[in-house]
């Protein structure tokens, strides 16, 4: 324990940086899980199967229509009621992954559908199978098309991780750790300004990373 003070200390800064680290971990892990799940769902919906189309359509509809904060509470409580109480942090992580998968699925489907039918026909005309066509033609072309939308989702996800606070998950992520400091030093503006700066830094990192990729693709295409 460090002595009780009512001003912003180096400890507080470190505490917030740790919170930012947790935010980043939440974003990356749920981003990866949600993207894998969303990819499978989007792919399934792009096939000719009407059953998959409607089942996953309902899934996406439900997920996108209920506020995330409610989903956190409901999922966590239902797991507990069902006899599988989860650590709030993991429960939150799973909820986030499922939540973002609904959005990713639609982006993936849009990417798959963005590839012209005639390009796919050309691939088939060369004797390629459906899987050849999908992995060597549709996926690379579609990815380049929807990559910016996917990055947009990941930025949204990063900010949505703050809602995990309703579960009282520990370790606290950035917003929650900021609130803890605010409670002590009673200087909300100062601390929130700092938290905002942290969020900005994290998002800016992702944006820069995505710009780098987009530039590389454009260079490859335009020489």
């Amino acid at each position: 324990m460090y002595p009780y003070v009512t001003h912003f200390t180096t400890h507080d800064l470190i505490f917030m940086a740790q919170g930012a680290g947790i935010t980043l971990v939440l974003t990356i892990v749920s981003g990866i899980l949600g993207t894998i799940l969303g990819f499978c769902i989007g792919w399934a919906r792009s096939t000719r199967s009407l059953i998959l189309f409607y089942i996953f359509g309902a899934y996406i509809d439900v997920i996108r229509s209920i506020p995330l904060i409610i989903q956190f509470v409901l999922f966590n409580s239902f797991m507990a009621i069902a006899g599988y109480p989860l650590n709030p942090f993991f429960s939150g992580l799973i909820t986030l992954s499922i939540y973002i998968s609904g959005y990713v699925a639609e982006v993936v489907k849009a990417g798959i559908e963005s590839v012209p039918k005639t390009t796919k026909m050309a691939a088939r005309g060369l004797g390629m199978t459906y899987l050849h066509e999908f992995f060597y033609i549709v996926l690379p072309i579609g990815t380049r098309t929807v990559f910016p939308s996917w990055i947009g989702l990941m930025l949204g996800l990063m900010k949505d991780t703050s809602l995990i606070a309703v579960l009282g998950a520990t370790p606290p992520e950035l917003l929650r750790s900021s609130q803890i400091i605010i409670t002590r030093i009673q200087q909300p503006l100062l601390v929130l300004l700092g938290a905002g700066a942290f969020y900005f830094a994290l998002c800016h990192m992702i944006t820069q990373f995505s710009n780098l990729y987009e530039m590389r693709w454009r260079e490859a295409l335009e020489g």
Partner: protein, 247 residues
Amino acid sequence: MRLWRADLIEIKNVHKSFGDNAVLKGVNLTVTKGEVLCLIGASGSGKSTLLLCINALESIQKGKIIVDNIDVHARETTKSRLRQKLGIVFQQYNAFPHLTARENVALAPRLVLKKSKKEASELAEKHLEYVGLTDKIDAFPSQLSGGQQQRLAIARALAMQPDYMLLDEVTSALDPELVGEVLDTLRMLREEGMTMIAVTHEIPFAREVADRIAFFHEGVIHEIGEPEKMLNKPEKARTQEFLRCIL
């Protein structure tokens, strides 16, 4: 002319419709190895659909298409294997935009013919040289002109070493000054005895290279014959009318 059954494309009473719209209404046609057949006719008369049916990119509702003794639309036919025999080139080039010219050509030999990366790359070099694109070998499609993209598409189809080439209005999307280079490539192919079925609006070209010209009208082959006869003295009124409109 050889007339072995294993050496030809036979189209027997083929029907195809999209919903209520009947596009092919009983097409009968035989194309032998080494022959160049040009299909002419108004837009929407079903010429392109017929090409797609020949290599099973479209299904048919009635009739039969037999390529080298293989029933194209039979359930047990492996479509991807069949399509190796039938190179197809489309009106809209359809180059793979994320791959260089070399990779565009090398991809299918690598995936479908299981060539090694090196073999496929050499194959690509050979075929790109054939169509005169050696200096563009590492260029992306977006850096190529329409004519170059279309020659790339031809090289890509040839790299699969097909027995037949199906050409769907390959010059229609090109600027007039670029048509020549693509037709030159096709002339070269003809010299080598490649069997071709070409949907085309280039009547002078058809006159020059075709062994036979077929006039497509209302979902059937309305009239078919040698270029001389078809273009100078067509028998049927519809054919005469069509030729009068476009010549």
